[in-house]
Amino acid sequence: MSGTRHALVAMRAIVIREALRFVHQRERFIAALVRPLVWLLVFAAGFRAALGLSISPPYQTYITYETYIVPGLCGMILLFNGMQSSLSLVYDREMGSMRLLLTAPLSRAWLLFSKLLGSTIISILQVYTFLLVAWLFDITLPGWGYLAALPALLLAGLMLGALGLALSSFIKQLENFAGVMNFVIFPMFFLSSALYPLWKMAESSELLHDICAVNPFTHSVELIRFALYVEMNAMALVWTALATAVFMALAVWGYDPARGMMTRKG
């Protein structure tokens, strides 16, 4: 019992640390919000007429491009934050606070999960702020959708955060984060259904469509998209949950001093 309490106290402490770090970096919050808003209000406006119209689930009727990309931009916030969180881990490791955290008498997986949960909660707050701004610009969703999206955002956030954690265990220095941007974030974002529906991808290239279809980010975006319209996409749920488990296992393995990459980095 006391062990459980101890674990929960540790989780609370880590989540609060994440929250404090977030509160102290207001520029980060604004930057995280500006990025999707630029896409929504500038990029989407330009592409409005260029993209053809078609009804595909969960939409019951024709939608504007702005409405289409909202779930993808929610995913974008989670993706960038997941990666930013991994950047902070690299920083923590360089500063030595990571070593201190991992020496706590608790399971490493639990500590990593707590860290993940903390950053995901912060990401979700940013997503809801983004949805509020979108609503102010008359891009509205079904009322219950805002609530129904919460578990989907949580799972998608955990999945992308876990990916960030796994990647951070392989990154030696802060400078290498640019590589993550180029080789992970951008391909993951652009090769997904965030900006264009998969049928549109198939029109230009079947190969692109297939790559998008196996991208876990596509499934997390679709999970969020369906949830925002109070619908369940079982396939997206399974894919996202599976990817979360795999990335989390990789992160735990990566941060295990006995077997993972930590040993090589010293």
Binding site: A49, L53, Y62, T64
Partner: protein, 322 residues
């Protein structure tokens, strides 16, 4: 004990079935009518018609439905319960649109290829009059008191005013290019005519047949050439008009007092005509190219669903089923 419950349930079911009003949609390329159940927003029946059905209207008591089967050169009269064609009316060549006179007896039919308006007595099934109008007549309207009929001609770009007693033209007024649809509003004091190529709606004062206002449309990110007003309908009390804007794929909401456009609603491709449900809380638009009907919630002005129908849906008509 179980019998009364069963009887009540059956009665309730029958009652709910009886209240499931319908929207009838003509499918120009399928030669069919799709019947949409307003409760479930699904197509519940598909009925065969003559070739290229376009205009559709019910008799005042909803006992029969009239269909312009343009390529069959006939106006067909159908029993809406059975879907059986009862007989054809002599319509003249290529009937496209028509309007039923308030006397529930005379149909005013636009004959697109012949540049005439044919008046048919639906009881005797005879042609009462044929009136020469401009080239390619299309839009038809009759004033609420039944004294004036209007034909708009696409190529001549005119609204022709017909005295229904003498069946003769008494005025011709110019409108913008390719007028498609006409409606008398506000107890017959105003006439609205949409011009497809001109991209406008002209509002006439009926007493003087003079232009009172002109409504322009501008949809963001859509080329002006694609903003083509066609069919339109009015909310209760004639406060607002919903205007189909053809290949711009939008419906405009126009304030009928100020003649200002308040909003544009995204619908399917090449939106053409429309009709309301019983209490005018939902609007059903026919989208020709995308082959569907978009349902708009009138209060929130949001599209709520698009229902797949046949190929090139054209006209829409409401049918109460109680």
């Amino acid at each position: 004990m179980k019998l009364p419950i069963l009887t009540t349930l059956t009665a309730a079911l029958m009652c709910s079935a009886a209240w499931a009003d319908e929207i009838w949609v003509t499918n120009e390329k399928d030669d069919t009518i799709s019947v949409i159940d307003i409760e479930t927003l699904e197509v519940v029946r598909t009925i065969d018609t003559g070739e290229r059905p376009r205009g559709i209207t019910f008799s005042k008591d909803f006992s029969v439905v009239y269909i312009c089967a343009s390529d069959s050169d006939a106006v067909q009269v159908m029993d809406p319960d059975t879907g059986e064609i009862l007989h054809d009316l002599p319509s003249g060549e290529d009937p496209e649109q028509f309007v039923l006179h308030p006397d529930n007896r005379h149909l005013y039919i636009a004959n697109e290829d012949d540049a005439i308006t044919t008046v048919v007595d639906t009881e005797t099934r005879t042609v009462v009059a044929q009136i020469d109008v401009g080239i390619e007549p299309e839009g038809m309207a009759v004033s609420p008191d039944g004294k004036i009929a209007i034909t708009t001609s696409e190529t001549t770009s005119m609204a022709h005013w017909i005295d229904t007693e003498t069946q003769e033209l008494f005025a011709n007024t110019l409108v913008d290019s390719r007028p498609r649809h006409a409606e008398f509003v506000k107890d017959g004091t105003e006439l609205w005519v949409s011009s497809e190529i001109g991209g406008t709606i002209t509002v006439f004062d009926v007493a003087t047949q003079t232009e009172k206002a002109k409504i322009d449309f501008e949809v963001a990110n859509i080329h002006p050439d694609r903003v083509q007003p066609v069919g339109f309908e009015f909310t209760t009390g004639y406060t607002h008009a919903f205007v189909a804007l053809g290949p711009s794929n939008h419906v405009a909401v126009v304030n009928a007092e100020t003649y200002e456009v308040e909003e544009y609603i995204l619908v399917g491709r090449r939106v053409w005509h429309m009709d309301f449900n019983r209490d005018r809380t939902q609007l059903f638009t026919t989208n020709g190219v995308s082959g569907d009907v978009t349902v708009i919630d009138v209060a929130s002005r949001k599209p709520i669903k698009s229902i797949k129908v046949g190929r090139f849906p054209w006209g829409a008509a409401f049918r109460p089923t109680d």
